[in-house]
């Protein structure tokens, strides 16, 4: 019997679930948890998924986490940046991006904090978020669910939310926001395009989700996020991320301050094991975030 799943492993399974109906498309995943999630999907319910190494190659067998094709794996295709933009436009892609801010309609910001003309904090820029949200399904990964991230209004709409997409008319017919996986819950969107709670992670007080969200959310009757199966836990711990495996002995949630900052620096055109996203989170060597599965305990 496997050790109980950690919150991180529950999040990985939730990320994997975003590919259940995706078919044969390129999975773009920014950050460690989404990257493991995409790989888990490919090894379980989504074998046709196309993965990239975060550099310029599509991988039928992925290199070790945080490594490019040079680190191993099997190359099945070449996708330099120019092709990535063509793939985006063709719609054969699905992204899980980070966010510095998200509002109640799923408008996402990774560009800057404050005023456009003189920002309080310039972040990385809108990167590919406008184009991604205009062209294919986009999900978000939030490593630290907080009221500073889930806000009434974002400072610079990078990824387009449901309200704006609907207002834009037929041009946004490919717009599709999937879910938002956070360290507390899985969020979705209701018929009006507003953020709603799909499930709360086991061990999380639903009130905590409300407190840490800057707009109203109804958690009443929200089910628990599913546990990873034994097969999924085995794959995560022994195959996908063996260097981070071993701990995860408890479902204890890491203290919030141990969680790396939200992926405000993410959202590159490419991802899915990207060196940039991993290193930019200060994790040289490309293993899991320190809190993913604690090694000792």
């Amino acid at each position: 019997m496997s050790a109980d799943p950690t919150i991180a492993e529950i999040c990985i399974a939730a990320c994997s679930d975003t590919y259940r109906e995706s078919g044969e498309i390129l999975a773009h995943a920014v950050g460690t948890i989404p990257t493991i999630g995409a790989r888990l999907a490919k090894l379980t319910h989504a074998p046709d998924l196309v993965l990239s190494d975060g550099e310029a190659f599509m991988m039928s067998e992925a290199p070790p986490l945080g490594k490019t094709a040079a680190g191993g794996g099997i190359i099945e295709g070449w996708a330099p940046f120019r092709r990535i933009f063509d793939i985006v436009a063709s719609g054969r892609r699905q992204s899980m991006m980070g966010a510095s801010q998200i509002d109640r309609y799923g408008n996402q910001n990774i560009s800057l904090i404050g005023d456009w003309n003189k920002p309080k904090r310039q972040l990385i820029g809108v990167r590919g978020a406008p184009g991604n949200t205009a062209n294919h399904r986009v999900d978000y990964w939030v490593s630290r669910h907080s009221a500073r991230l889930f806000v009434e209004a974002v400072d610079m709409v990078s990824g387009v939310g449901n309200d704006r997409a609907r207002a834009a008319g037929t041009s946004m017919r490919f717009h599709h926001l999937g879910v938002i996986v956070t360290n507390l819950a899985v969020l979705g969107y209701d018929d009006g395009g507003r953020v709603t709670v799909l499930s709360v992670h086991p061990g999380v007080d639903p009130q905590e989700v409300i407190t840490n969200t800057g707009f109203a959310l109804d958690v009443e009757g929200a089910p628990l996020t599913r546990f990873p199966t034994d097969e999924e836990l085995h794959l995560i711990r022994e195959v996908l991320d063996p260097r981070g495996a071993g701990p995860g002995k408890s479902r204890t949630r890491p203290a919030p301050e141990r969680i790396s900052p939200a992926g405000g620096l993410s959202g590159s055109a490419r991802g899915n094991g990207g060196r940039r996203s991993q290193r930019s989170a200060g994790r040289p060597g490309g293993t899991s975030a320190p809190w993913t599965r604690r090694r000792h305990e």
Binding site: E55, A56, F57, T68, A69, P80, F81, R82, F85, V88, A89, S111, L112, W116, N117, K118, P119, K120, R121, Q122, L123, I124, G125, V126, R127, G128, A129, P130, G131, T133, A134, N135, M156, V157, S158, G159, V160, R164, A165, A167, A168, G169, T170, S171, M172, F174, H175, L265, S268, A269, R275, R276, R279, S280
Partner: protein, 288 residues
């Protein structure tokens, strides 16, 4: 075939204040850093810089060379943000066109094809439209769709760095990604290619297949041999990023005094002096 070999200073001295300069590469990858450093030594100012930005943008901005910046992002890759760029931005001193990455490419494609704009879905509904009030949309003549009409981004000069080139400017990339260097060249009035090595034309296929012949000499004005000319960014497979030095750059950039010291130590002399100073930096690092 014309011989287009020229000196670095000769090439860069043809760049005038107020020009629009496209810089190839991506983030902190295969940037024409030798040419950028030569620009830092010049008295050129008021440039419009067009780039998938990395330390090229940070350095030029910090040196006061840039009036306006057109970019998809500015990042050092292994370090998410360039402190010189973010500081300038937060002081509100730059004119900015921040585009979606795909929009950015669309603008270059329009210029390369000598069109005034090209349509794209990227940008619709986002604040990129509000932040760039010059952007217009265009209705499809065939459907109800409304597209962003990305204006062409024509360049006066493009600067790119490649692994190999012949003396005529047939340029070759040997790494995993050509980025958009050929597109920058095609969008530009003049293109200067810096290269790790100038080789004979008949030797171009010694190190890579014909697929690596990225850019025809038709688009090239001048070729300059600049070994380690992309330092400290990547130039795979010739060399990877100098991560230790990039860390030193980023750390120094966070504080005005340490930045002045960095400039004095590394950017005060010519290109040879730069590489000597970098060698000294690594010698000290190794002793530590």
């Amino acid at each position: 075939m014309p011989d287009k070999r020229i000196g670095l200073s000769e090439a860069v001295s043809s760049i005038e204040s107020g020009m629009t300069i496209g810089i190839g590469g991506w983030g902190s990858r295969r940037k024409p850093m030798a040419a950028v450093r030569e620009l830092l030594r010049s008295d050129v100012t008021d440039l419009t810089v067009v780039a998938f930005g990395g330390p090229d943008v940070g350095l030029l901005v910090a040196a006061g060379k840039v009036r306006r910046l057109i970019y998809g992002f500015v990042s050092l890759d292994s370090i998410a943000l360039d402190p010189l760029f973010t500081a300038a931005r937060e002081r509100g001193e730059l004119e900015i066109n921040e585009y979606d990455e795909g929009m950015f490419v669309t603008g270059l494609r329009a210029a390369a094809a000598r069109l005034s704009f090209l349509p794209t879905l990227a940008g619709i509904g986002s604040d990129v439209m509000a932040a760039n009030p010059h952007l217009k949309t265009v209705g499809s003549p065939y459907s109800d769709d409304e597209y962003v009409a990305v204006p062409a981004t024509p360049l006066d000069v493009a600067l790119i760095h490649v692994n190999r080139s012949d003396s005529g400017g047939n340029a070759q990339f040997l790494g995993p990604d050509p980025y958009f260097d050929d597109l920058f060249a095609m969008a530009a009035e003049r293109t200067f290619v810096t290269t790790e090595k100038i080789v004979e034309t008949q030797d171009l296929l010694d190190e890579g297949s014909f697929h690596t012949l990225m850019l025809s000499r038709m688009y090239v004005t001048g070729v300059i041999e600049t070994p380690r000319g992309a330092h400290f960014t990547t130039c795979e497979p010739d060399y990877g990023r100098d991560e230790a030095f990039q860390k030193h750059y980023a750390a120094s950039a966070k504080d005005p005094d340490s930045w002045r010291a960095f400039v004095a130590e590394f950017l005060g002399g010519d290109e040879a002096g730069y590489h000597e100073a970098v060698a000294r930096f690594h010698a000290v690092q190794e002793k530590k």
